[in-house]
């Protein structure tokens, strides 16, 4: 019973050419919807000299101007308050408010109608079903239920699937672990950072082996960790559970997921989203596998505040392989590889924080936490890495391996600082482990001038 692999056996196995036709028709539908109902979208497309009628083929889609988060910030806090001119429904039809986390600047408000909210949990239903969630599961959600979308839609999707949902909202970490133990929860959703933090607290503060608890699958989101092999391995070993990656965003929706086959990448839900990969230099749309670029994404069915050709700044690449699960939804290799915002040049070398994470978490003598600080020493860039040494581990051997691996994987030399286990900051939601102080230093100098 309920052994069906797919949430929607038709859409998830639709031949690629039909999927493309479906995406094109839906793109035209949401474009027309936005053009006729949102002053913001109409002005954007008018300025480009385009109407929905000008989009006649799939290839025409790339003519539509992209939307950036900064544009949304510019139109909000105005009438219809607080959403401004991108709102496509009467204000009284908005049933849910959320906002972005503000990691990259002022938060963006996100209105949703009840239909949008149903759509959010529908997208999550594809994810959870693909990851093996079934009605027999008891799902524990250890996150703060608040203005951030986080795992809210995961909660409702799990209910829709028929799972029993335990909302572990305003509980501290130890209480959450005890509740998982008490109720024999079988599944959990949280950020990779927090899942590791929970395992650490269970093991080192409570004397509970998380692998001995009943959790058999964990869905991670909010950070790239579950797509970073060494981080995923740490979580799986700590909890004795399968760990699945998923990616979504407040202003986009839940657009990708890893399935039970764990193909070292994520499926894009191409029935609900149109994902394009853009070359960051030329702006060309990348179709072939193996070339990294920036994701430009359209949520094909979101109506209150449409997401049309949104420049997400996520770095992804198409996989050349199809998945043995049988889904025709394309795979992005390695999940979300990083953010264009985070990739920065240090000493002339492009570096992604995810590459450092992969190295640190692959070394067994190091703790889960680390911190990267980039600053200036005179005119030269300096990159400092703070790590924690596990108790009873000898520093010398670890230091050599760490330096060698960092040099090999990131082409940079680091100033490494070792700390006692448990002394670096712990995070409950998204971690802030990468600090680039160079911009602040330049700003300070400019102020003095």
């Amino acid at each position: 019973m309920n052994d069906q692999e797919y949430w929607n056996p038709v859409l998830e196995t639709l031949p690629k050419e039909k999927l493309k036709i479906l995406q094109f028709k839906k793109f035209k539908r949401i474009l027309t919807w936005a053009y006729t109902r949102s002053k913001f979208h109409r002005a954007l497309y008018d300025k480009a000299g385009l109407t929905p009628d000008d989009i006649r083929t799939f290839e025409d889609i790339k003519k539509i101007p992209k939307v950036e988060k900064s544009m949304m910030r510019g139109i909000q806090n105005k009438d219809p308050f607080p959403y401004g001119d991108a709102l496509c429904v009467p204000l009284e039809e908005v049933s849910t408010f959320r906002q972005t986390s503000g990691t990259t600047g002022q938060p963006v408000y996100q209105p949703d109608t009840w239909q949008d909210w149903e759509w959010w949990s529908e997208c999550w239903s594809f994810i959870l079903w693909a990851q093996g969630y079934r009605p027999s599961d008891r799902v524990f959600l250890p996150f703060g239920y608040n203005i951030f979308v986080a795992f809210w839609a995961g909660h409702y999707a799990a209910e829709k699937l028929g799972c029993e949902v335990v909302p572990g909202g305003v509980l501290d970490t130890q209480s959450r672990i005890l509740k998982i133990q008490e109720l024999k929860a079988t599944a959990m959703m949280a950020t990779p950072t927090y899942v590791l933090n929970m395992a650490d607290v269970a093991k080192n503060k409570m004397g509970i082996d998380p692998a001995a608890l009943s959790i058999n699958k964990i869905t991670c989101a909010g950070e790239p960790g579950a797509g970073i092999p060494s981080t995923k391995k740490r979580i799986q070993e700590a909890w004795g559970a399968k760990v699945f990656d998923h990616s979504g965003a407040t202003e986009i929706g839940a657009w990708s997921y890893e399935c039970r086959k764990q193909p070292c990448g994520m499926h894009v839900n191409e029935a609900m989203f149109l994902v394009e990969i853009e070359d960051p230099v030329t702006g060309e749309i990348i179709e072939e596998p193996g070339r990294k670029g920036k994701m430009v994404i359209t949520a094909l069915d979101r109506i209150a505040q449409p997401c049309i050709r949104f420049d997400s700044k996520d770095i992804i690449e198409w996989d050349s392989e199809s998945c043995s699960c049988g889904r025709t939804f394309r795979l992005i290799r390695g999940g979300v590889l990083g953010r264009a915002d985070d990739i920065t040049k240090v000493k002339g070398v492009l570096i992604s924080p995810a590459a450092i994470e992969e190295v640190v978490r692959s070394i067994t003598g190091l703790g889960d936490e680390f911190e990267v600080i980039v600053d200036k020493q005179g005119d030269a860039d300096r990159i400092k890495l703070k790590v924690e040494l596990l108790p009873e581990v000898v520093r010398g051997s670890v230091e050599t391996i760490l330096k060698d691996q960092l040099r090999l994987k990131t082409n940079l030399g680091y100033q490494i600082e070792f700390y006692d286990y448990g002394t670096l900051p712990r995070y409950e939601v998204k971690a802030k482990r990468f600090k680039d102080l160079r911009k602040k230093e330049i700003a300070k100098k400019e102020c003095r001038l």
Binding site: V10, K25, W114, E118, E122, D301
Partner: protein
Amino acid sequence: MKTIQDLEKLNDHILKIKELIIALEAMDPLFPALSRNSKRALASIKMLELNISDIITLDLEGS
């Protein structure tokens, strides 16, 4: 259920339910429990449309 005929049959049922709920919603605007629950039901029916009807009504044979 995977053939186009099967999907058309499902779609027929979806359209019938939708029509009934739309009628129900409009029947008495001074009866909030009727109109608001009907509106919520329509949002759920929309998910059936996204999963099934779109495959039929968006005519995937032609671009």
